[in-house]
Amino acid sequence: MSKTTAYIIKRLVLAILTVWVVVTVTFFVMHAVPGGPFLGEKAVTPEVLAALEAKYGLDKPLIEQYFTYLRDVFTRFDFGPSLKQRGQDVIDIIATGMKTSAKLGVIAAFSALAVGVVLGSVAALRRNRFIDKFIMVITTAFVSMPSFIMGSLLLIVFAVKLQLLPANGAAANGLILPIITLALYPTAYITRLTRSSMLDVLGQDYIRTAKAKGVSGMKIIFGHALKNSLIPVITYFGPMLAYIVTGSLVVERIFSVPGIGRAFVNSIINRDYPLIMGTTIILAALIVIMNLVSDILYKVVDPRINLE
């Protein structure tokens, strides 16, 4: 077994273990809440409460509930019915929200990647010139600004003052502002990452050799430098997704986008336990898988990298 295969297997085991830990922690933490999920309902008689608990299987021993839940989640992606939105299954609510959120997230991620790589390369190639310094100052500011502040400011400027774009995410063109808000931080981060790795690559011997052979500037940049300087960017894929997922919670709240993030925040406010658990598990699994993919990709793209 080669070293790479061993590494991939190890990471796979860790990923599965992590998802299991998430499911377990979520389950027991949610069941540790005093009073159970029906406490908030007004005037529930003991009989009704018992009937409700029997219906949702809450009268069984905790450990039995846990194994039932585990089995349902891992074999059928069944997170049970929502407690507050009667007649809807958690997985359906998540699937509906996911359609909007996935569009939002994927567009944000790819625009961040495209803009970030271009800006980073420009900054590296014009090192210490005005344009480089300008890009670095702007990106430093964006990296330090929480996404909810960024979103609110964009909302004030473009939706309230200039009235160029709608403030409601459900309207036509409504996703433009949320996408910009979500993409700004990853763009700034990728710009800085690309710049530093491009500078590193430009100092390598093979770039000097290429120059000495008389290869044209464009060919050096696109054929040699850019390709190699993108390797560290791959490692940022996982963290970027994590950022976009958590960022979408606030961004969807600010712009009232009907996505999974808003469903999650609302489920917390409404104490809709199955929905909180289901959303946490799905989003966590998504992040863990993306981290796994980006780490393995990193290893496959550059076999020189020693992972331990």
Binding site: V29, P34, A141, P146, I149, S152, I156, T246, L249, T280
Partner: protein, 352 residues
């Protein structure tokens, strides 16, 4: 004097006082410097880091001193006075506007302290709320980092020093916690801890701090120590092989002594730097949670909850959103830049 090669007689010449010329060799050209002094000197040369540091100190001092001397308090609703109906003219004042009773007092020739940023929807002076919010955010960031530091340092040094099975066990736990999506876990845990903690601490001194803040600290203690302990373990693993540790072991020192006296002081610069960079990330997390409604308990303000409240009245009162936004960005930006400066000054190895 005759030289006898094997005699034990002293060579008298060696005891002649040194000439001026010889003395010149041992004059100190420059006073010797300690590691700390050297780092501070490099830090002061870094203009960005120095300016950031001054900004942090100013904001910190302001958030400590201003609430003491300010005529308004953060939770006093100015329109509410006992025995009278609520005076709504104090609610939603624009900057430098006054409430009805205040206008009367001004006409009567009294000096009324201005509401620099106006008031909020409940008639509370907004300036002092922002100052107080900055204080809460800074305090949360600072204490959360201290908690992370203590736990991470203890566990990291035990793992690094013991090695073997203990290390393997601890590092597997670290691996799992590290790959947990932290924000989701933070949200989940603080939601639940809020509900679990509130009956437990009712009536005690802790209730004043609020369940949300306490659960935030608990969450930090549970989840965020892992990167710190990884860092310290790595440092200790390399330091453990040094000769002076071997010497200490040989003279019978106990493990805890070696960790405290030899290993920790040698990784102190790494520890300081990562603690400094932990503070802005804790402030970030706090404001994020406050924005989702999981942060500090009302009426206590934090910068995140101020921004969150302002979101509803944003059309009419955008300044209430912009002011906390600027303050929080300024704090996080200067802490980040200062942390970067610290890293460059105290750990030149990392710079490469």
């Amino acid at each position: 004097m005759l030289k006898k090669p094997f005699s034990l007689h002293l060579d008298v010449d060696a005891f002649i006082p040194a000439t001026e010329e010889e003395k010149a060799y041992i004059v100190q050209m420059r006073p010797s410097t300690t590691f700390f002094k050297d780092g501070v000197k490099r830090l002061l040369k870094d203009k960005v880091a120095t300016v950031s540091f001054i900004i942090i100190v100013l904001i910190t001092l302001a958030s400590i001193i201003l609430p003491m001397v300010w005529p308004y308090s953060y939770d006093a609703m100015l329109g509410v006075s006992p025995g009278k109906p609520v005076d709504a003219s104090f609610n939603n004042l624009a900057p430098f506007e006054y409430g009805r009773t205040e206008l009367k007092r001004i006409e009567a020739g009294e000096n009324v302290f201005p509401h620099i940023f106006g008031t909020d929807s409940a008639g509370r002076d907004y300036f002092i709320r922002v100052v107080y919010g900055a204080r809460i955010s800074l305090a949360v960031g600072f204490f959360a980092s201290i908690i992370v530091l203590i736990i991470g340092m203890t566990i990291g040094s035990i793992a690094g020093y013991c090695g073997g099975k203990v290390d393997l066990f601890i590092m597997r736990i670290v691996d799992i916690i590290y790959s947990l999506p932290d924000m989701l876990m933070v949200i989940l845990l603080s939601t639940v801890l809020n509900l679990v903690l509130s009956p437990l601490i009712e009536g005690t001194a802790l209730a004043r701090i609020g369940t949300n803040i306490i659960s935030l600290f608990i969450v930090f203690a549970l989840l965020y120590w892992v990167s710190m302990s990884r860092l310290i373990r790595g440092q200790i693993l390399s330091l453990r092989e040094q000769e002076y540790v071997l010497a200490s072991v040989a003279s019978g020192a106990r493990g805890s002594w070696i960790i405290r006296k030899h290993l920790l002081p040698n990784c102190i610069s790494v520890v300081i730097i990562s603690t400094a960079l932990q503070i802005p990330s804790a402030i970030f997390t706090e404001s994020y949670l406050s924005f989702l409604g999981l942060g500090v308990n009302a009426p206590m303000p934090s910068l995140g909850s101020l921004a969150s409240e302002a979101l509803n009245g944003m059309q009419s009162y955008p300044h209430r959103l912009i002011i906390p936004a600027i303050v929080i960005s300024l704090i996080v930006l200067s802490l980040n830049l200062f942390g970067d400066g610290l890293r460059d000054a105290f750990d030149p190895k990392l710079n490469a």
